[in-house]
């Protein structure tokens, strides 16, 4: 686990170190990198196979993007429609403008239930609003019931992926965690035995704890229904057995019509886990007497989303259906894993979503944690042009810095100014090339690369190698070639 080597990962963007700093210890953690590479490779190859068999994949993506865009354009009306239908079916709808209000609403609901324990379905929104520490502080114990979340909770670790949050932990590490926290000394380390241990550990919790908290994959405006997609059945347990169910959902989770699921469900599992459909999709509408919870609450969370909605380029961020395909394909994520992003939303989508949810006041290093290769855009089932949004956010970060006096001491700023001066004239450029060839020569190794530079140059070579300047520039070669021919 990364925790043993790097200290506890910090996923609060307000407290997390900048990406390049946070990434360093993770890059040195060979075990973690092996675990992340293995998991993302497996998902990617399964996804590629299933996407290839779908002859209308691009048409599905286009339809999904259109549905999500349309929904965002009319978000207010669809939320009101959802609220009206859900309420008519016996549900209670609450609105939270920020994380603190969402936590307060949930704590108040739990107080009314006199709950001392809750069972939880994996929900990104809960992690986003940092619900678990608030529950703990109020003396309410939360049992995470998704296997990966359980591993992280018992191992006091943090999620590093949106869909498979414990992908950085391997079987022997899981065995260690379960053996210690469940008191099972002789537990073997094969995944089957470990899964069985989790089943036994949680079974009584499902049957006895009367309050559940979960998330939503989709809210259906037309019917007031909620859909949850999952694999293990822990979701179905939490949605069916307790007396009271509290669903947390970002305001962007709504879909106009029930039939829009025909597009989303074909894309979601293939993109997320490389399956045609996830084992279980549950759909419910308010309260159904005799089947499932007697009380149902939905907490609609804004927490920065409406400000993203206001910006034309960035609005597409809210189309996201949290499949995490962009993480698995990202050359940066695949090297660092999720903890480097300092957010519950890592990877390319996290790099655009996190700073925006923070109103661009924190996580400003994340838009730069990308090579802009565009792989994320290619796999995105709702066609979010992540590179375009990254560039827009980079521009905003640079604009923020432009106003700061400290920029005059910033090597990057000075470097850019110098580059601007050099590139503005041919003579200056040639002079710089000549100087560079002489100055850099001592650092070029036999393989033609520069691996380390002293002083300020070290900032560059710390994380990348530099190609040594060739002995001749293109211009020089061209001129010489012309003379030979004549």
């Amino acid at each position: 686990m990364s925790g043993t080597l790097t200290g506890h990962p910090v996923l609060d963007p307000r407290l997390a170190p900048p990406f390049p700093i946070a990434a360093l210890p993770l890059l040195r953690n060979a075990q973690l990198r092996e675990n992340v590479a293995h998991a993302t490779d497996v998902i990617q190859s399964k996804r590629a196979r299933l996407v290839a068999e779908k002859t209308d994949w691009q048409e599905l993506r286009r339809a999904a993007a259109a549905i999500r865009s349309h929904t965002l354009e009319h978000l207010g009306s669809y939320l009101e429609e959802f609220e009206a239908r859900c309420t008519a079916a016996g549900g209670m709808v609450h609105w939270a403008s920020d994380a603190a209000e969402a936590r307060a609403i949930i704590l108040e609901l739990l107080r009314q239930e006199q709950a001392s324990e809750v069972i939880k379905i994996k929900t990104m929104t809960s992690a986003e609003i940092q619900l678990n520490p608030a529950l703990e502080a109020a003396g309410i114990h939360a049992y995470e019931t998704d296997l990966a979340e359980l591993i992280l909770q018992l191992g006091e670790d943090e999620p590093s992926h949106i869909v498979v949050p414990a992908l950085h932990v391997n079987r022997s590490q899981v065995r260690e965690i379960f053996a210690r926290s469940m008191g099972l000394k002789d537990l073997p380390d094969d995944p089957k035995a470990l899964t069985a241990a989790a089943r036994t550990y949680l079974r009584q919790k499902f049957l006895t704890i009367p309050t559940a908290i979960g998330g939503a994959n989709f809210l259906i405006a037309e019917t007031g229904s909620v859909a949850v997609v999952e694999s293990e059945g822990n979701g179905r347990m939490c949605l069916t057995l307790p007396r009271t169910l509290i669903t947390l959902a970002g305001i962007e989770k709504v879909l106009p019509r029930f039939a829009d699921l025909e597009v989303m469900l074909q894309l979601l599992a293939r993109s997320a886990t490389g399956e045609r459909m996830s084992p279980y999709t549950s759909l419910w509408t308010g309260v159904t007497p005799g089947d499932g919870p007697e009380r149902f609450h939905v907490v609609l969370v804004d927490n920065g989303r409406s400000s993203i909605l206001a910006r034309p380029t960035e609005r597409q961020t809210l189309r996201c259906i949290r499949c995490a395909a962009c993480l698995n394909t990202c050359p940066v994520y695949r090297q660092t894993g999720g903890h480097a992003y300092g957010s519950v939303y890592p990877g390319p989508i996290g790099a655009i979503l996190t700073p925006q949810l923070m109103h661009m006041e924190y996580a400003q290093s994340l838009p730069f944690a990308s090579s802009l290769c565009g792989a994320c855009y290619e796999v995105c089932p709702v066609k979010i042009d992540i590179p375009k949004v990254l560039l827009e956010l980079r521009a905003q970060v640079v604009n923020q810095e432009r106003g700061r006096a400290a920029r005059l001491r910033d090597p990057m700023f000075i470097g850019m100014k110098v580059a601007h001066a050099i590139l503005a004239g041919a003579r200056r450029f040639r002079a710089a090339q000549w100087l560079g060839r002489i100055a850099l020569r001592p650092f070029i190794r036999k393989d033609g690369w520069i691996h380390t530079l002293p002083s300020l140059g070290a900032k560059w070579t710390q994380t990348r190698d530099l190609r040594g300047l060739p002995s001749q520039s293109f211009r020089q070669w061209w001129t010489a070639r012309g003379k030979e021919e004549r």
Partner: protein, 218 residues
């Protein structure tokens, strides 16, 4: 809830300001272009073959029979499962409750009683061949959601006429205005790949899914 009423207005105001989209202008989502495949192309036999193939890929067991043979097929499945105590939804056809087994009919059974059962037998609303999915709308013959959740073994009776090729075709079959109040879509037994991406069957939901496909001549 009154406590969040100011926030409701605040959020809706922010959204309206962001989208500058007065309420009455909402155009219809149904008008969006949809060029993906809605209707399947396979004939009946190929469609059923695909359904069986996909189910088996999920490690579900599938047998088929003609309508007259359903009770006998159920009896054979129950017997070969080695189990004895089964729960059944209240609306399950009486002839499906084959003799020789201990049946608990769900007329408001407690969760603990359902948990004690070794298996469950239900009907289904629809099957989607493309993904091998069984879709339950929890009608009286499909049972409450908890029935197909707690027992470790689920036998589902699916009629050939209920099997469609594509997911959109299922949505076309849903009663307008498009609503099952409750639904569960099942694609193979409960599973996880959370530990090293190794697929493990049966975490919390049923570990075993068996399907009797009844060839009732589409």
């Amino acid at each position: 809830m009154s406590a969040s009423a100011p926030s409701r207005q605040l959020i809706l105001d922010r959204i309206r300001a962001a989208t500058q989209n007065p309420r009455q202008s909402a155009s219809n989502a149904a008008e969006l272009s949809r060029s993906y495949i809605r209707r399947g192309k396979l004939g009946v036999q190929e469609r059923l073959k695909l359904m069986i193939e996909r189910l088996r890929e999920y490690d579900a067991e599938v047998v088929d029979c003609v309508p007259e043979e359903v009770p006998a097929a159920i009896g054979a499945e129950l017997a070969s499962s080695g189990r004895r105590v089964f729960v059944a939804p209240e609306g399950l056809p009486a002839e499906w409750l084959v003799a020789g087994f201990d049946w608990k009919i769900d007329r408001g059974l407690e969760n603990a009683e359902i948990e004690q059962a070794e298996g469950v037998v239900t009907a289904a609303f629809c099957g989607v061949a493309d993904s091998g999915t069984i879709l339950l709308h929890h009608s009286p013959s499909e049972g409450r959601r908890v029935l197909t959740l707690l027992p470790d073994w689920h036998l589902c009776i699916l009629y050939a006429s209920q099997v469609v090729e594509t997911l959109p075709e299922y949505f076309d079959r849903c009663p307008s205005p498009g609503t099952p109040v409750l639904a569960t879509y099942i694609s193979g037994p409960s599973a996880t790949a959370d530990i090293e991406m190794t697929r493990i069957k049966g975490v919390h939901g049923p570990r075993f899914l068996n399907v009797i496909l009844v060839r009732d001549g589409d």
